[in-house]
Symmetry: C2
């Protein structure tokens, strides 16, 4: 294996000393970059982009050519697993993801079995292997998946939702089928992430976009319990190296303590949480990732720099912080602001990592 030239990201996740706070950006390969839009247009549709390893590799690497980022993240979609289960993922223009065959009944759920990622998700592990090779040790590569609850919302609602009425009805009315669904998805996600690790992913992250829409009881019983089931099955060592695990629940600020108890290395924070207060609550146990409001990125460069400094100051001295946005970067952002963000995080954080 090639030696890693920049291991700041992995070290920070493991709370080992670093020279500067590492940074990567959720959805860093995305529509705010003109070179991404060009490849996206060539590909035709979004799923072709995801499922063609050469194209996924190209867009994964694009932001690293422009910015001094400390990690790459596999370019893919959070909904590849239900698509591979046969639900038929597609993207309606301006509408977000949809499924041709959503789950309609308990019978549909009971028919589902855990997915073998070596078959229908080979395009993902092929992309991981290719990206890892092309990165040539520049920075570590992050693999990822959607959380079981988040996958379930799309699988049941057939697309995005404001209220998750149908998905929640399953939790309220059919607890047994709901647990079966969560378990099948958890086992599938675990196998999928382990396949990404075997193919070269050096850290993995579980995105729980919609856990924050649940009650405290349902969050713990369904979303967090199923993430815990994944974490328990993950291969945490590969080629002698530790593979850190990050979980992120948008809107999970109430439940940081429980998330930190799930056996993970790091908890992702959205921007509604003060990172200094979060560190006091749970920061000894795990590393923290976050948490600039993505809306800041649309403001002036001075504002971006000021708000980034304020988060670094709030976290304070020592390792255990991976800088990121609190949610994905939006398409309307000027690349200049991303460059300014990456640079200010590196320069301003130096003072917090004196030996």
């Amino acid at each position: 294996m090639t030696t890693l030239k920049n291991d700041r990201f992995l070290r920070a996740l493991l709370k080992q000393p670093v020279d500067r706070t590492p940074i990567w950006i959720m959805r860093q390969a995305g529509r705010y970059l003109p070179e991404y839009r060009e490849v996206r247009e060539q590909a035709g549709d979004f799923m072709t982009l995801c499922s063609t390893p050469e194209l996924a590799c190209e867009v994964t690497l694009q932001p690293l050519r422009r910015f001094d980022l400390d990690a790459a993240i596999l370019f893919s979609d959070i909904l590849t697993i239900p698509d591979a289960m046969g639900l038929g993922l597609y993207f309606a223009e301006g509408e977000g993801p949809r499924f041709e065959s959503p789950l309609q009944s308990v019978a549909d759920i009971n028919k589902l079995g855990a997915l073998d990622p070596s078959d229908k998700l080979k395009y993902v592990t092929d992309a991981v292997a290719l990206i890892r090779r092309e990165l040539d040790g520049k920075v570590p590569l992050i693999g990822f998946s959607g959380s079981p609850w988040t996958l379930a919302t799309y699988m049941i609602e057939g697309g995005g939702s404001k209220t998750f009425a149908r998905a929640k009805a399953l939790l309220f009315e059919q607890a047994e089928a709901a647990h079966h669904l969560m378990n099948v998805l958890a086992d599938s996600v675990a196998a999928y992430l382990n396949a990404q690790i075997a193919a070269g992913a050096q850290a993995v992250m579980i995105f729980d976009s919609w856990g924050g829409a649940l009650s405290q009881a349902h969050y713990h019983a369904f979303s967090l319990a199923s993430m815990q089931r994944i974490v328990d099955q993950l291969k945490r060592k590969q080629d002698g190296e530790t593979i850190p695990v990050i979980i992120f629940t948008k809107g999970g600020g109430n439940w940081l303590e429980s998330m930190a108890d799930a056996g993970v290395d790091a908890v992702g924070l959205d921007w509604t949480v003060d990172i200094g207060a979060a560190r006091q609550r749970i920061g000894d146990k795990v590393a923290l990732q976050g948490n600039l409001d993505p809306a800041v990125m649309a403001a002036s460069t001075e504002t971006v720099e000021r708000e980034a400094r304020s988060i670094l100051d709030s976290y304070g001295a020592g390792s255990g912080h991976v800088f990121n946005l609190g949610h994905g970067i939006t398409p309307n952002i000027k690349p200049e602001n991303v460059e300014a963000l990456v640079n200010v995080v590196h320069s301003h954080s130096e003072q917090y990592h004196q030996v």
Copy 2:
């Protein structure tokens, strides 16, 4: 004045002993009721319904004829103030509220002055007086307004938003104008709520629908500070009776302690918070209102009853709880489930109010 026949709601807000836990429902006068849809159709458009006191009174009273609710809430819209400021509120079919003339610049903001509710909002205070007369002491009447930050988001974005990019840009880039806008809106809301109190409102509630989209620092500096400014100006006594004040920030679970410190009588909770844990955090200081997930109402009657009991059990013994949903009831709900909810809250809570 007529003596109040059922003062459970007011007593619970003041943490005085009650025989049963009181209940009312956010958006209880709404599209889930066929008799509401009939009046709404007659009125033609939504604003005609709001601005015609006889119609607003009629739909306010409708749910009280069906269900044993412990409070009435003025039927109105949260955006009446910016409409009265000249921004031109309208409702595009299936799109939610929009403004014809949103705020476009700091100059637009600086032109705004605090509103005198006795002129352009007389239709609201007329409705309050009429409803109060028609209620004839059956239950207390709640007045309300949107919070300054929530009003500001619609005034700046021109309607609903997912990211609040423009409204947040104001906070990030033009702090002085942002504070001016919050102050003008806070003073307008205070005058508006005081006019509702003078006309007969027996409790008031401030709805902060979008405070939960802010960072902790901005929530405190803008949304909560402006609600505090309102609370400080409210007339808390009318005709010898105390007028309780409730504030509710959707997604505010991280900040309950600060909300409880704002000099209010009660804090509204959305469904992501465990009400028993919230009571431990802040329940000695204030009453709590909430917090059933509105999605439960679409489930079976048995589920509605089970989940309602679970919230009552979590709150436990003693006064200081007003049962409600954690957000507004949705149009797809069967009225039978509302009836079951009201009845189970009354019957199951009796055990918690033994003298």
